[in-house]
């Protein structure tokens, strides 16, 4: 055999395709993007009952061959064999939700009419039974003219029979297709109605569970209260539960680094390994806990069907800035960290909406900005009460609001310029509620973590090493400071000229270079610059604030705060944006617009403060 035969799962969204795919392929999966688009390609190896392997692809959920989204476009092209480098599948496996036959048969008829070897999986038959539906698979098979196998993916029911049917259909794959008469959508819908009527043996009027759950979860005031409580837990988890794990991972990298230091003679190579490579590895793995925790919640919310309800509840608010409810969770997550937030935008179906959300995600005040804000506020903002709250807290709150308002304005402008397009609207099917399955969850988490480590991690590591090289070469002569002698020092000299108009001195310019890795690095760089002895974080911060007061004016400090509301100083965010937008165009745009805003607002802040006589 020159190549493995191929089969593809086709069906409407929410037909349970992914669960069936997981059940059929196990962990033998490969995830990549289809060439040129950010549509995920999921393929895996399935062993047929006769022992032969077959490559199974899980095509994106689709409502028809007339496409309305990049996902559907990919599905159409793959089925028709129009996608370069992607041979048409030999066997099509249509996945139908047994309790939603009338709807799902509309697309199924369109696929069957192509006349290729086709098998139908009548999936989630257990949920249909729970709803009081009794179906006749033989009648369905007769009506459609293709084999129909009842399956329950999550309980592995019907998998062997499905494999048998695929193997048989594969035997016909060499034959020319026998296309049937194509009906238009209205005709297919009438036909679907008639077929469903003939297949449903009995239907009890049992009140369905999920409409009762909707009555609670979409309730005018209980719904939002529940959502708020849930969001609090998610936010708290990403923010707080991740911290000890992150400390642990950092400690582990530190231990390895110490070990290297103990074993190797001091020198440039040792520094390269500890400060370049290992510090880079640390910068990558430190994000893993947040990514895993956030995606645990997101995968559960998606698998249970609640995600669509949350989007429904938040849609009105997001519509105000030209987005839809689907953008809400990714943006909220970005308050903890933009990296998992941007990865979470995959659940936004409209590409323009998704791009806008990715571009504004860095404006949500992430946890890495807190150390920077805390040091500057402690040093320059007097701790006096304003009404019921302290002035310091008020300034911190103001910085968060500044970021949110900035994001809203940017979203409005982007939606009318760069990401302009037909109003994405908000039209979505609200899936039935279901219990998530642990195995699918685990697999999903593993895949997310792996994608981050492999794709974003390599870029982060590379940039880290480049930064280390910039800071350490050329080597300082005797009596010369290494940083001054380095390329970074020279860059800082040039940067200082450009940053002078917004009130930044050369020390700040120098601190900004290494903090491209991550914003909080600005604090340790400033500490190094002002030769603050490294101690634990509290004493460092305390000594640093004394030094800052000596070297900076208040307008400079305020400008520095304004700078960090916007400045995209996080190489991981850039790397993830590259990965999620499939190219350097949008990360470059993100860098440019955020630095421009940072510069403008730092300047405005600086000169306003001077004009006000601070």
């Amino acid at each position: 055999m020159s190549r493995w035969h191929k089969a593809a799962l086709v069906g409407n969204p929410n037909a349970g395709k992914s669960a069936l795919f997981n059940a059929l392929t196990g962990a033998r999966q490969k995830i990549a993007n289809y060439p040129g688009v950010t549509v995920e390609k999921r393929a895996g190896r399935m062993i047929l009952p006769n022992g032969a392997p077959i490559e199974l692809t899980d095509l994106p959920g689709s409502y028809g061959l007339q496409t309305t989204s990049p996902d559907e476009e990919v599905t159409r092209k793959v089925i028709l064999g129009e996608l370069a480098g992607e041979p048409a599948p030999d066997v099509l496996v249509i996945v139908l939700d047994a309790s939603n036959l009338e709807q799902h048969l509309v697309f199924a008829q369109e696929v069957i009419a192509l006349g290729k070897p086709t098998v139908v999986a009548l999936n989630m038959i257990d949920l249909a039974e729970r709803d009081g539906l009794v179906l006749d698979p033989h009648a369905l098979s007769n009506a459609l003219g293709v084999p129909v196998i009842p399956t329950v993916a999550v309980r592995r029911r019907g998998l062997a029979e499905l494999g048998e049917a695929i193997a048989q259909a594969e035997g016909h794959s060499g034959e020319a297709p026998h296309p049937r008469a194509r009906l238009d959508m209205a005709e297919r819908r009438m036909e679907a109605h008639a077929i469903a009527d003939g297949v449903i043996i009995s239907e009890s009027a049992k009140h369905r569970l999920h409409s009762r759950m909707d009555d609670f979860l979409l309730h005018p005031w209980l719904g939002p209260v529940f959502l708020l409580g849930l969001l609090f837990v998610v936010f708290q988890a990403v923010f707080a539960w991740a911290a000890p794990l992150q400390d642990g991972l950092e400690g582990l990298v530190g231990l390895i680094s110490d070990g290297v230091k103990a074993e190797m003679a001091p020198g440039l190579l040792r520094d390269f390994i500890t400060d370049g490579v290992l510090a880079g590895v640390g910068a990558v793995v430190v994000f893993l806990p947040q990514i895993i925790i956030l995606f645990f919640f997101i995968l559960v919310l998606e698998a249970t069907g609640y995600m669509a309800r949350a989007a429904f509840l938040m849609d009105r608010m997001m519509a105000g800035v030209g987005l839809s409810g689907r953008s809400f969770i990714p943006l909220l997550s970005s308050f903890a960290c933009a990296v998992p937030g941007i990865m979470a935008t995959r659940s936004i179906t409209d590409p323009k909406d998704r791009l806008t959300t990715i571009l504004i995600a860095p404006l949500m005040t992430c946890s890495a900005r807190l150390p920077v804000y805390a040091v500057i506020i402690a040093a320059f903002i007097p701790n006096r009460p304003v009404g019921l709250v302290g002035l310091q807290g008020l300034v911190l709150f103001g910085l968060y609001v500044f970021g949110i308002v900035g994001a809203m304005v940017v979203a409005l402008i982007l939606r009318r310029s760069v990401t302009k397009g037909a109003a994405s609207g908000f039209i979505m099917e609200m899936p039935k509620y279901q219990l998530p399955r642990l195995r699918d969850l685990g697999l999903g988490l593993f895949q997310r973590g792996w994608i981050f480590l492999r794709r974003a991690g390599t870029i982060i590591l590379q940039v880290n090493i480049v930064l280390w090289l910039l800071l350490n070469f050329p080597q300082a002569q005797k009596g010369q400071d290494q940083v001054d002698a380095s390329f970074a020092g020279h860059i800082a000299n040039g940067l200082a000229v450009a940053l002078k108009p917004i009130g930044f001195n050369r020390d700040i310019a120098l601190a900004l270079i290494p903090s491209m890795m991550a914003r909080e690095v600005a604090v340790s760089s400033l500490a190094t610059t002002y030769a603050v002895a490294a101690g634990d974080e509290d004493t460092t911060a305390h000594q640093l604030s004394d030094q800052l007061k000596k070297h900076w004016s208040l307008p400079t400090a305020l400008a520095f705060l304004a700078w960090f509301v916007f400045a995209p100083q996080c190489i991981s965010t850039i790397a993830v944006t590259r990965r999620e937008t499939n190219g350097w165009k949008w990360p470059a745009f993100m860098l440019a617009y955020l630095f421009a805003l940072a510069y403008v607002f730092a300047g405005i802040t600086y000169w306003s403060a001077i004009a006000l006589g601070f």
Partner: protein, 91 residues
């Protein structure tokens, strides 16, 4: 069909829980992709549906529709483009 002939309104005005049938859609008022998506979800002339829930913040937007065995969410702007005829509940 026991339609109530004088009871024709746009879908966004349809009270929650009231069954109705779509009698006309101003497709020109919708973006082509939206129109296609709505039809694919079974929201089209002739569909029988009811509004099951409405959004909370700012003007009862969006709407959740029961269409057959599916729940479909759409915005009020889409619903405004659709004329529905009230049916007696339980038909």
């Amino acid at each position: 069909m026991n339609a109530l002939p004088d009871k024709v309104m746009t879908l966004d005005k349809l009270p929650v829980g009231q069954t109705a049938r779509i009698v006309a859609v101003d497709w020109a008022a919708l973006v082509e992709e939206e129109a296609l998506r709505l039809r694919a979800l079974g929201v089209d002339v002739g569909s029988k549906l009811s509004v099951s829930h409405r959004g909370v913040f700012g003007g009862a937007d969006p709407l959740a529709l029961r269409v057959g065995r599916m729940t479909v969410a759409l915005r009020r702007a889409h619903a405004r483009a659709m004329q529905v005829m009230l049916l007696e509940n339980g038909q």
